[in-house]
C-alpha cells in the first residue's frame, strides 16, 4: 500500500515526530511504500536545517532526510504554516527580501492542497499530533 503521514508536532517539544518516524520505518519494513510525509502546524519545524540536537539524542531532521534518500519519500512542508514560523527556502527568502534560508531540500515548501491530495491519492493517511 501507499502510505502518507501528517506530522503536526514540533520536534523535541512533543513525541509526535518521533512516533511518526518510528511508524514510517515500520511501514517500509512491512513492505509498503511511504510515499509522502506532510508537515503542518508545528510539524513544519522538523524541516529546520540548522537544528543541532545533543549528540546523544536522535536527530529527527537526519531521520527524515534518510527516508527520502533511501526510499524516495516526499517531505512536504506547508508553506503558509512554514513562512509564519520562519521556515523559508532560498526562493521564499529572496521573495521576502531576507538573507539566508532556514529550509532546504529534500524538504519542499508546498501548498495545503498537497495534503488534501495526499489524503485522497494514497491508500492510508496517518496523523501524528502533539
Amino acid at each position: 500500500m501507499r502510505y502518507a503521514l501528517l506530522v503536526q508536532g514540533g520536534p523535541y517539544s512533543s513525541q509526535a515526530s518521533h512516533s511518526a518516524l518510528r511508524f514510517a520505518r515500520a511501514v517500509i519494513e512491512r513492505g509498503h511504500s511511504l510515499a509522502t510525509v506532510f508537515f503542518y502546524h508545528d510539524g513544519v519545524y522538523n524541516a529546520a536545517r540548522l537544528a543541532a540536537p545533543p549528540q546523544d539524542e536522535p536527530h529527527l531532521g537526519d531521520g527524515w532526510r534518510l527516508l527520502h534518500d533511501e526510499h524516495g519519500t516526499e517531505l512536504l512542508v506547508c508553506i503558509a504554516a512554514g513562512l509564519r514560523r520562519g521556515l523559508l527556502d532560498e526562493r521564499e527568502a529572496a521573495r521576502h527580501g531576507k538573507e539566508g534560508h532556514s529550509l532546504e531540500a529534500p524538504f519542499e515548501l508546498t501548498g495545503l492542497g498537497q495534503l488534501v491530495e495526499a489524503g485522497f491519492s494514497h491508500d492510508r493517511l496517518i496523523t501524528f499530533s502533539p
Binding site: 504554516a81 492542497g113 491530495e117 489524503g119 493517511l125
Partner: protein, 141 residues
C-alpha cells in the same frame, strides 16, 4: 482567506435541525479548538477551504471547544490577530454548507443554536459515528 475584522453581535435566525440521517462526503474536518487560543481552528478551516476548492465534498463537524468558532460577536484580537470568524463567513462561497455541530458540546457550555452565526445541523447520539463512517477521509483538528 481574509475576512472582515469586526462582526457585530446579531441574533441569528436559527433553522437548525437534528440530523438523524447519514451525511456522506469526501472529507470530514472535525474542529475541536476554540478561536484565538491556538492556530488549530484556523489550520483546520484552511484545510477545509482548500479541499473544497479542489472540488471535494467537505463536511465540517464543530465539536468540543470548536463550537465557539460559530459564536456571534467575535472580533479581532487585541494585537490585531484576525481570528477565524471571517473564514466562517466565507464557507458558503466555497460551497461548504454542511455544518454539523455536536449538540452535547453546545449544551455543556450553556449555548444554543441562537448563539451561532450560521444555521447548522445538530448531531446527537450516534450521529458522530455515522459521520466518521460516511466520509472517505477524516481530519481531526
Amino acid at each position: 482567506m481574509s475576512g472582515q475584522e469586526i462582526r457585530e453581535p446579531e441574533a441569528s435566525e436559527s433553522d437548525s435541525v437534528v440530523d438523524n440521517s447519514t451525511t456522506t462526503g469526501d472529507l470530514l474536518v472535525i474542529l475541536r479548538h476554540a478561536p484565538h487560543g491556538s492556530s488549530w481552528l484556523r489550520e483546520g478551516l484552511d484545510t477545509a477551504l482548500v479541499a473544497a476548492a479542489f472540488g471535494q465534498q467537505v463536511t465540517l463537524l464543530f465539536a468540543g471547544e470548536g463550537v465557539l468558532a460559530l459564536l456571534t460577536g467575535q472580533t479581532a484580537g487585541p494585537l490585531g490577530q484576525k481570528g477565524t470568524h471571517g473564514v466562517i463567513d466565507m464557507l458558503a462561497m466555497y460551497d461548504i454548507d454542511t455544518l454539523m455541530v455536536d449538540g452535547r458540546a453546545l449544551k455543556s457550555r450553556g449555548l444554543c443554536t441562537d448563539d451561532l452565526m450560521l444555521p447548522v445541523t445538530l448531531v446527537e447520539g450516534d450521529g458522530v459515528v455515522s459521520l466518521l463512517h460516511g466520509h472517505r477521509l477524516v481530519l481531526n483538528f
